[in-house]
């Protein structure tokens, strides 16, 4: 899976699970998702959806806020786990 495909899938998971306000401008890769309204519980559901979509498992060391704070950060983590 190439980087742009990962980025697209990450965006789709965010759209379905991050429960962001409807009136947001389009997300930049670096947009901080927590700052634009992603609640902790929504970030957990997003994490579980990412595991299912990419067939990966985030190790405990990655289960923190920084890994899930932006499309860029999430994509980087997913790329790392996909090897």
């Amino acid at each position: 899976m190439d980087a742009s495909e990962i980025n697209q899938k990450v965006r789709q998971v965010i759209a379905e699970h991050a429960q962001l306000p409807a009136d947001l401008p389009p997300l930049e890769d670096q947009t901080n998702l927590y700052e634009v309204g992603m609640a902790s519980r929504a970030s957990v559901n997003m994490m579980l959806a990412l595991e299912s979509v990419f067939e990966i498992e985030f190790p405990d060391s990655m289960l923190n806020r920084a890994v899930f704070e932006s499309i860029a950060a999430i994509s980087e983590a997913v790329e790392e786990l996909l090897g």
Binding site: S40, R41, S43, V44, N45, L48, D60, L63, N64
Partner: protein, 304 residues
């Protein structure tokens, strides 16, 4: 030879029972309170009354809560093992016979019961939030309450009761108002509890969120410094006992229950919860099983 954490804990439990401070029941983690323990809890409540007098609106809720609140707050996602759900018999005569037979045999009769509309209150402030739907007055609100809570975690540790009381103050308002209130209580709680000559410490803490999702919830809570605990190292430095917690919920409850600030945004909320039994236990552990022997400063602070 020095005792382990578990040995010290068991010795403390034995001491509490032998000095008739707590009364053992048939269930681990459920204790009766004998006179000295009851007296200390009353005095603690009175001490907190004096501390918060006139600041807050006093409210009371019974120890059961609409089960809908468990659904809407995500309690089962976060704390499924702690929840106490209330079920009752609603069947006919034939089913009643089967129920009675099962009960007589000492078996699990859960299958004959229907879920009721209520669960046991898991935190004293939970019943409050659903009643606050709508807009807060300018400056927000402050409530004072005490309630029985239940957490299903059977244990022989007398400091981990399944049913206990929390004295809470709950602040609702803007993000800044609530954060400032929490900040104030970090200092104030230490002052109140160290006046009881307890060797207290303030620690950053997390709630016992369940499972893998819970690991992330904990990491988020910790990174944002949303929960603090006042702790006392009773049996070991590594596993101190939390006797009071200060929790900033941000807009979690505001969002779930449609509570708005005067500015129209979702209200933020926070609570300070004094664990009355745990503070009393820390006092007995620190100052001894005989109230008469407690230091004069502690007796004065509690008006014992």
């Amino acid at each position: 030879m020095s005792m382990s954490h578990a040995e010290k804990q068991e010795a403390f439990r034995q001491g509490l029972l032998e000095h008739r401070i707590l009364i053992q029941t048939q269930v681990p983690g459920i204790f009766g309170h004998a006179a000295p323990f009851d007296a200390v809890i009353r005095k603690l409540e009175a001490r907190i009354d004096r501390e918060v007098a006139g600041e807050a609106e006093r409210v009371y809720f019974p120890p059961v809560l609409a089960r809908e609140v468990v659904r809407s707050t995500g309690y089962m996602e976060n704390f499924p093992t702690l929840c106490g759900s209330v079920h009752s018999f609603t069947g006919d005569g034939a089913l009643h016979s089967a129920l009675v037979e099962r009960v007589k045999q000492g078996g699990d009769w859960g299958e004959f019961l229907e879920q009721s509309q209520v669960v046991l209150v898991p935190s004293a402030c939970y019943p409050l939030y659903p009643t606050l739907e709508g807009e807060l007055p300018p400056g927000g609100k402050l409530f004072d309450l005490v309630g029985h809570v239940f957490r299903h975690e059977p244990s022989d540790d007398p400091t981990r009761m399944q049913a206990f009381r929390q004295r809470e103050n709950v602040r609702l308002g803007s993000a800044d108002e609530v954060a400032a209130w929490c900040e104030g209580w970090l200092q104030r709680s230490i002052r109140v509890l160290s006046a009881l000559e307890l060797p207290v410490r303030l620690d950053l803490a997390t709630d016992p969120f369940f499972g893998r999702g819970g690991r992330m919830m904990k990491a988020t809570q910790r990174a944002q410094e949303l929960k603090h605990e006042v702790t006392v190292a009773l049996f070991s430095e590594e596993r101190p006992l939390a006797i009071t917690s200060i929790n900033n919920h941000q807009d979690h409850f505001g969002h779930v229950f449609g509570i708005h600030g005067a500015d129209g945004g979702y209200a933020h909320s926070a609570c300070i919860g004094f664990g009355l039994e745990r503070i009393a236990l820390a006092l007995f552990h620190t100052h001894g099983f005989e109230l008469e022997g407690w230091p004069a400063g502690v007796r004065d602070a509690l008006e014992l």
